[in-house]
Subunit: 258 residues, 4 copies
């Protein structure tokens, strides 16, 4: 699917502080960036890196005062397909070495505490069926609601709260998959038809020798997702990290079909 | 310093389960493995991987019944030096991209909660001086004591408990460094003169364009540390991970000067 | 039902420490203590108090060395009935003032976090039906299993762990009832036919203008419960509290029909 | 000291909900209410109770729409004195039975986790000296700052955050006192010269056979405190509790010398 994505981030940095943006579309197999522009006002020389594993591209600079960052890109995200139930789960021994780390618990995903729950609730499933059962459970049991969670909310707390936003749904999904022995990691994305438009947090699991994207909120069609960054959980994929405080002035994100 | 390290791990796996060992000495600049042997009884064909970033080597297999794994190596760990106070801290923008991830919080190191504490307690220091001040604070305030912590204990809890083992000291040290804007990561090691002999957990920080090893427990001399694995926290560097349960039969670790 | 209850607690207090026992059968309407004896070896002059609200009786003394406390009583616990679904829940305004405190969260019962869960899961019930639905949910979702929880485990953690002992079942039951607007409090008891024999933790809720005892574990018949102490949660009803540490030598508890 | 206290609470209750106010000055030895008026608009018939232990007075009713509650009283709070260092700490055995409950942990005061910290930090003090050392530690280490804590913040978290408001200071003070074997409980109050004017949360400890009020924030002079309610922690002393949600319209609290 071909999409035109755009993010406009206007923040005030006072006092000056180092900042890291992760807003550029990832270089990832099957996802082609046809053109892109980055407009920064006032001018800033960003230091840009590309992660060799995820193709995520980070922009870093020391920022001062009000800075507007506008990123636009035309992307063909290829053919993204929903997770089929027939995908199989691999034993630890059959996983690529670089995938193992996504089995372990992380800051917002204490999967080590959920072994008994997943066994009780999803014990008769494995692989794609297990993940689809987890997604159905999340959909049946968690409300999409702003104001319940904050930047410190873990999946353990969302499991109790029964409500949260895309970030919380994703943390809970990752947690239940890892507790099931399925590698899972967080992905940030532009998302077609997401309402209201915003950056989206989704996750992907390793099954049948590949990563499969899923959206635990069900808010955006899978074929309209455009990858940005990737990591263990929200700690790795923030669209903006700053060493000191910063103040939101204005922000808008869009993703439209071309 | 030249050392002879040895670990003997005898565990019972019943029912059979996938297991991952991280016990081999790392391939790491300045650390030379002169010879090594791995003896597994009964015979097991391990799948071995070497991490391209850390040089950590993992052994994986499905194990059944009682399995004895004996690893022996002669290592020259080069010249390890204590952290000098003059080492400098880099701005985010001056860090190598692959180091950034060690600034973020992880499962056992919720550094996002300690910003005010480090500013209050260590606010007049930076770089090597900050790290040395953190190590002194840990030494002054935390007791080395078994039985206080368990496999779920985070640095936040150790900060309250005021006691723990090497793993807990390391998590707290990493947490306070990351909260100070200093990249920090966990390292597992063989340690000369550690009493009682065991695997050791230490950490390293990125200062003056390099990683510096420190031992927050002060139990082993820095020049006698031999690296095994490395990662965000204990979730990444376990010497033995298993999908199911396993039972300790017998275990011994030694590190002697040659 | 007439019962003969007995507890023998032998502990070693070294160094000497203040201790509080709550093992005597409560003076409570409908529960008649026909005879009782307390044998302490070596002799100790306990300071005894009776709580005016619960009829719980506490024994206090400074203890030193090995102390054996044997308590025996013959009790007619009256006619205890299971909770009928027709019992009604009162509005806050219709509750006795002294009952209000059992609506609020306590150390092990963070009921303030479970409002959305109880509404989602039990929203179509109220009063006795709500409590019975909660008890059924606990029975369906929590395993009775030793070794999962410890003395710090809260209901929030048991909700995730899906396993625990009578104390944990009781904390979770209290939490879900309070979150439902139903006053609930912890009760310690001797329990007929409990296997293995031990002190039991149960709880009671205020419905239809009275307290109703329920056993969330289902391990003991309601008619065989003999009340000892009562309070907000396990912090209030411990059978033995000590200021310093103490060491268990031997303990046995029995409750037999006469 | 003679004071004129006044609180005006205007809230909107939509949909209707049960509410409990604790705003009336307590009936407490040494504290004399010379006159008081309660003006509720529109008229509401409150159900009023007086707690026999604390003299706290609760007002309960089902409320609907916008309700204004204005309470005014002239109070002579007697002669409140700061805690003298010579006050002595009692062994458990020498405490009145009704005081024991304030030794145990509660929702926001997990004193069971702080035994090692108080021993390390305050180990050479006892009684009034211990409490004064705790108050000094809080004053030296915790910042008074809004926005750091919320209604779920426990003393464990404030200990890490190093910042909070009067409620958090009080929870931390109570926690460290209970961990020291000193009974401690939360008190809500009108406070002379508190800036900005608001309800105040303080605590009291049991030493030398009596309760002594202390203000861990140091924001109000001890002689200008007027007691309202009392309990284990904030769960018991809220000035307004509601079963459903309610919306603040306007609120002002004053305490002036007469």
């Amino acid at each position: 699917m071909k999409l035109r994505v755009r993010s406009e981030l206007v923040y005030r940095f006072d006092p000056p502080t180092d900042a890291i943006y992760q807003i550029k579309v990832a270089h990832w197999p099957g996802q082609a960036v046809e053109d892109e522009t980055l407009t920064v006002t006032p001018h800033v020389d960003f230091h840009e890196d590309e992660n060799t594993e995820f193709g995520a591209r980070t922009l870093r600079a020391r920022l001062e005062g009000e800075v507007s960052v506008v990123y636009e890109a035309t992307v063909d995200n290829g053919i993204l397909k929903g997770l089929p139930p027939v995908t199989v789960q691999h034993d630890w021994n059959d996983l690529p070495a670089e995938v193992l780390t996504y089995l372990w618990p992380s800051r917002y995903c204490p999967s080590d505490q959920f072994g008994r729950f997943v066994e009780r609730e999803f014990g008769d499933t494995t692989g794609g069926e297990r993940v689809l059962a987890i997604l159905k459970w999340i959909s049946d049991n968690i409300d999409y609601e702003r104001g319940v969670s904050d930047s410190e909310t873990t999946a353990a707390r969302t499991f109790i709260d029964r409500a949260g936003v895309c970030r919380d749904f994703t943390h809970l999904g990752i947690t239940l998959c890892r507790a099931s022995g399925i590698p899972a990691r967080a992905v940030s994305a532009y998302a077609y038809q997401l309402t209201p438009p915003d950056f989206h947090a989704i996750f992907e699991i390793w099954l049948s020798n590949g990563w499969w994207l899923v959206d635990p909120t069900g808010l955006a069609p899978i074929e309209g997702l455009v990858r940005i960054a990737c990591g263990r959980d929200a700690a790795d994929i923030a669209f903006l990290s700053t060493q000191g405080s910063c103040e939101l002035v204005r922000q808008s994100i869009t993703a439209e079909a071309v």
